[in-house]
């Protein structure tokens, strides 16, 4: 019996077209736009101004608060401007644009490919290096990693869980990384274990990636404290709380953090970034991005510098197909549609999905037939039909009582609804209103 989480979940078509294509280094674009806020929390403060010359890996914006992190230049060149640029939501936010001249790295960065297994750093040093390198959760939430690795007083971590599930259909960036950078990743996991002071780590992988599983299992033989756990394919297993449930059988209480049950979850790509930062002094300036879609000529996985425009990635994957209806930043379940191709790749961009016209429009919503499919698949045990009705009629007290804040917006309810009701849209509306109400109550 393969492990998985018991409550709810769905299995949409996997469509992992790019699973077979190795990670390719993408040539540098002519210019990059690096937003100063690529993470959850307060935007970083820019340290450069127009006309400054920056090297690859140089810090260009520094952390501005507790929940914040550093931003580095991903290229060598001249700062064109520090101004507002359109980001993936269409709103204009502060960013640094740099004209690329060449690729000269900062002197203290080790750019060689040699594997450095020996761990010489202490916990505090590792956490400091992670903050300095600007590492954030690379599964998509982009929460600054150094905070998650600092254990609060009075709490004890028993297990570090590494998320290699990649339950989102179409995306393959984590899959390729586990295949090609497994050794490095494993050192990264060891580093994180040192930082947390735990002696057990579990890497969770779904059984639709047998090559990655066997690769990591072979490598894990050298590491007695790291085990590889095979999981049954089920969406949204990559969500923090579901993954903890799948692996440890423990349930994170409503409104609490995973540390309550003694677990800390990090993404595989974060583990790789930690290795690069601690062992090689390399800040987080590049990541693996899957560019895929049914009609894309060459579905690929690219190693991309942050700030590279999305249009450049699509060009490298064979150009935009003619019948494109939607371009999604992320996967088909949780990603958000882009309304411009000039937006840059950020630390949280795991994939660019090009959807054909015929599949991109929603069906018109019909009436709720009370089939309760949404209730049975909700992995958090919520009642999406009720939340939607309450939210539509502005009954915010019901929305709050029915634990809308536990919703992680996985979109399973909208996916299964036979009447094509945009349940998640309304739940999001309810969540944002309820969180405003809660905030005003606290004041």
């Amino acid at each position: 019996m393969i492990k998985t989480f018991p409550k709810g979940g769905i299995h949409p078509p996997e469509d992992k077209f790019s699973a077979g294509s190795p990670i390719q280094e993408l040539p540098l674009p002519k210019s990059v736009i690096i937003p100063v806020c690529q993470h959850l929390g307060s935007p970083s403060e820019p340290l450069v101004k127009k006309g400054d010359r920056v090297k690859t890996g140089q810090i260009i914006a520094k952390s501005s608060g507790f929940v914040s992190t550093n931003i580095h230049s991903s290229v060598t060149g001249k700062v064109e401007k520090v101004d507002k640029f359109t980001d993936s939501t269409g709103y204009r936010r502060l960013a640094v644009s740099i004209n690329v001249e060449k690729d000269q790295w900062e002197d203290n960065i080790d750019t060689s490919n040699t594997l450095k297994k020996q761990i010489n750093s202490k916990a505090e040093e590792i956490i400091k290096k992670i903050l300095d390198a600007g590492i954030v959760g690379m599964g998509g939430a982009t929460f600054p990693s150094h905070i998650k690795l600092s254990v609060p007083k009075g709490k004890k971590v028993e297990v570090l869980i590494i998320n290699g599930v990649e339950c989102e259909p179409c995306l393959t960036s984590d899959h390729r990384l586990m295949l090609e950078k497994g050794e490095e990743m494993m050192v990264g996991v060891r580093l994180m274990m040192t930082a947390l002071g735990v002696n057990r780590a579990v890497i969770g992988i779904e059984n639709n990636k047998p090559d990655a599983i066997s690769n990591l299992k072979t490598i894990a033989k050298d590491y007695k404290t790291i085990e590889v756990q095979v999981l049954k394919v089920k969406y949204p297993q990559g969500a923090e709380k579901q993954l903890i449930k799948s692996i440890t059988r423990r349930e994170v209480p409503s409104g609490k953090l995973p540390i309550e049950v003694g677990a800390v979850v990090h993404n595989v790509e974060t583990a790789y970034a930690v290795y690069e930062a601690v062992q090689k002094n390399k800040p987080l300036i590049e990541r693996v991005v899957t560019v895929t879609g049914k009609n894309i000529a060459k579905p690929s996985n690219f190693m991309v510098r942050t700030g590279t425009p999305v249009a450049y990635l699509i060009e490298a994957a064979g150009g935009l197909p003619e019948d494109t209806g939607k371009i999604i930043n992320g996967g088909p379940m949780m990603g958000k549609a882009l309304n411009s191709l000039d937006v840059p790749v950020t630390k949280g961009t795991s994939g660019i999905l090009v959807v054909p016209q015929s599949e991109s429009l929603r069906r018109p919503a019909l009436n709720c037939i009370r089939c309760a499919k949404c209730v049975s698949i909700c992995p958090m045990g919520l009642e999406p039909y009720l939340l939607r009705a309450a939210s539509e009629h502005k009954k915010w007290d019901i929305v709050e009582e029915e634990r809308s804040m536990d919703c992680m917006e996985c979109g399973s309810c909208s996916y299964v609804c036979p009447s094509a009701i945009p349940l998640l849209d309304y739940i999001r509306l309810g969540k944002s209103t309820v969180s405003k109400i809660i905030r005003s109550r606290k004041q």
């Binding site: 507002k84 939501t89 269409g90 709103y91 204009r92 958000k336 549609a337 309304n339 411009s340 429009l361 929603r362 919503a365 945009p422 849209d425 309304y426 999001r428 509306l429 944002s432």
Partner: protein, 282 residues
Amino acid sequence: MSDVVINSVIIVGAMGLAAAIILFMVAQKFHVVEDPRIDQVEEELPAANCGGCGYPGCRAFAEALVKTDDISDLHCPVSDKDSMEKIAAILGKEMGEMKPLVAVVRCAGSPDKSPRTNIYDGTHSCTIISSLYTGETGCPYGCLGMGECVDACNFDAIHMNADTQLPEVTDDLCTACNACVVACPRDIIELRKKNKKDRKIFVSCINEDKGGVARKNCKVACIGCGKCVKVCPYEAITLENNLAYIDPDKCRLCRKCAPECPTNAILEINFPVKKKKEATAG
């Protein structure tokens, strides 16, 4: 047989009498003295319970009117001058000067002026769109056109214009109750002073982007050039964050600013057609 009937009539009658006496005594004991004027004032109010006055419903407002000594700051936006005068007469208090307001939509980005860059096919709700992204046009400030303000209006005073895809206010019906202002997630609607013959002059844009960016997204955007500020003889226009704003209290409707605006972002409504220069000079 008749005994049963008589007995039950006596018993039930006695119980009823006893209960009535108890209730009467309790009512005497716990009698709440309520100012009878509250009922009279409430009668005069429109009973729309719109909350435009700032109180939860007409009764609460009536109570406030009765309790407060100086009612010059209290206004029912829905009532006309006559009914407010009646209320003042009932209370024997001085009524403040009525400052009628009207809702104004500060966006003119119809599809021909502000081109659509993408198609939104999600839920018809301005709040949901604004939480997701900038909307169908390139302008991150403009009207989203799903009509949440229309749904919020209790007086049927605001409607979507099918051609411009923008909401339009019917001035005669608008009571300035503020419901649409609260409903709009982009704060486009503003309550402005009502002028003679419903004349209005205002900057119909709230875009704070730099001129070039704003202009690219919308032909009638305020580009913050400041020409109107210079020409205004009453210092009614201010420029902040690349956006001009006409203060309705200072503006005297001289109409000097509107022709200066290079993007026609300043709208003049309900004014007579301008005569030629010779005529106005005389």
